[in-house]
Symmetry: C2
Subunit: 410 residues, 2 copies
Amino acid sequence: MSEQLFHFVGNGSVTTPAGFRAAGVTAGFKRTGAPDFAMLLSETPAHFAGAFTSCTFAAAPVQLCRKRVLESPRLSAAVINSGNANACTGAPGLANAEETCRLAAEALNLAPETIAVASTGRIGVQLPMDIIARGIRLAAAELSTTGGNAAARAIMTTDTVPKSVAVQFQIGDRTVSIGAMTKGAGMIDPHLQVPHATMLCFITTDADADNELLAEMLGTGVADSFNRITVDGDMSTNDTVLILANGHSGVTIRKGTPEAKLFKSALDTVMRELARRMVADGEGATKFVEVKVVNAPTREDAKLCAEAVANSLLCKTAWFGNDPNWGRVVAALGYSGATFDPNRTDIFYDDMPVVRQGGDAGTREEELADIIRKREFTVLIDLHAGEEEYWVWTCDVSYDYVKINADYHT
Amino acid sequence: MSEQLFHFVGNGSVTTPAGFRAAGVTAGFKRTGAPDFAMLLSETPAHFAGAFTSCTFAAAPVQLCRKRVLESPRLSAAVINSGNANACTGAPGLANAEETCRLAAEALNLAPETIAVASTGRIGVQLPMDIIARGIRLAAAELSTTGGNAAARAIMTTDTVPKSVAVQFQIGDRTVSIGAMTKGAGMIDPHLQVPHATMLCFITTDADADNELLAEMLGTGVADSFNRITVDGDMSTNDTVLILANGHSGVTIRKGTPEAKLFKSALDTVMRELARRMVADGEGATKFVEVKVVNAPTREDAKLCAEAVANSLLCKTAWFGNDPNWGRVVAALGYSGATFDPNRTDIFYDDMPVVRQGGDAGTREEELADIIRKREFTVLIDLHAGEEEYWVWTCDVSYDYVKINADYHT
């Protein structure tokens, strides 16, 4: 297992890799006075790649980042505000995103086209540029090689905990680090395209790799992490994942090498860990549920089944109620559009049989309820119709989900 | 307007049309002692048609009704229990559905193949046949020409009100009646196929019409009523719509005639009225929302947009919170998969402009909130991209929705 070739770094963050600085400050977007502006800087221009929402209404910062991917060979910095999404803001919104880059470039003595922006929060409100300017001034002054966790806190919206992680591994006698931070607790059902929630994720590494290889690794990594999670089935206008590789470790990763394989494995682990934490911190969530479909005729059938169950409001509320109600799982499979024989379908909660050949497996309801009461469990669906599989991570829907989303105003 | 050619009957029900009797009794399926068993009888064998769930796990009663549609020229009766769905019950479940028909046939002195069954409630539990037998005995003894409203009450599950309606109109010197009852407040996102929630709907008429014409009228009617509603985006294993036409008015409806047009218009109105009442009585619902998409390039694009908004958990919780948050509407349109130009999109709440050309229309938030506070309002989306349109009826998601579905155990 390549997983054993790298290790998690205690208190790791985007500033664990060498040559990265970060800061998180209170610029004034949030009424609460919580930190709401983050800056991430690579001390030297970094190779990079991005994955963005596939929403038709892509926010201004997403449009600008796509342009960076197409036009800029390297990135030096990213500025991120929470509390305002700069989405559905038209030409003025795009101009504000550009102006944000220009202001940051000025403060950091960089070229504007080497700066990325990301925003999360309320849709349809123009960015208050005076607050942006204050954020840039404050953050630029705070940038430090230990600022990763402060940055992770500043990009939160309805998240209850900041989410940072870092891993390290050896390549030859050199230590390579990958760090990352993410936010996102609602409007989470990413379908990121390389170039999908408002989820934001920033990954840093002190390895070097060309933009093409980074894009390829990010794309397949996202498909098996962020695109596997759902909180509410709503995809955002602002989803953004960026990776910056600055080469400060002295290691360059080249396609097809054993080092690339190790790097990819470590990168995948970072993304999966953060995806897991996003679901666990889903708005109002009290449970983390893995929905896994096996022995499907096609991967698409497995995906349809897994996503139908993972997004079923009836399943999600039953889980919140500690109710093993498998009828709702079956109903969701039935309307998923997948092809399979209902009379051959088996369902397990963890390793406890629930449904055998489409009917009650006979396990006592109390035993099933004991599983559903857990903080974390798996719904395993065996279609006995092929060899393909797919899994999705989801959470329950609680009173707090409704409260958070009936009341949310930044 | 043909609508003016018929009128609603006060306190109308499935027994408003001549030659129909009905009953609703307490057989013992529900722990609460509420009525849970209904019977509907046509005094003479009736032409009929049905529309059923497209769920892969179609319940035993649905399987049996499909067989009736294929094999039986006429129906005389339907027996309906609430509290147990007889779904995912395998061969024993199907045998129990058949046995239910046999017992009812015996009690009513009819042939079993002229009897339809429908069930709603918990999935995966075998029907308690002793309770079925008691229901049949009690209901057969109670059948009456004024029993329609009692029957409508007996088929309720999480519904808060029974839902019956009847209309009448003249054809020549004869009065034709159409009556109907429906249930369904959760697991409502029907996609009925002729041969889609658990919604159950039974329509009676004292006109006659051949089964083919009834099926055609039911199919197009369902497409513009029950298939246009969603409570939670979950389709049921048991959805069933049946129409029985016994000819007791002396009027026969023939395809292509002015009478058929009038009959169809009245039938459509009955189905739409009941569809509207189902949404208004949606589990925990406090609001009724029409989502209407106009000027779409294709009807399918309009449908994708309308359904994405109508099923968006973020939109539904915002409505509950009296929050005009149009960013959530825009996000849902953006991930709907429909083809359109976001920068040409206008959105209105009732007749108040919300979004103009993809950005804030400038209406004060308080004015928008006044609309969202209403018990009933329309979200109108103008894509300016063609001439096609589609509408869907939906409701909000409240604390009570979560409560009902976290706690529901029949």
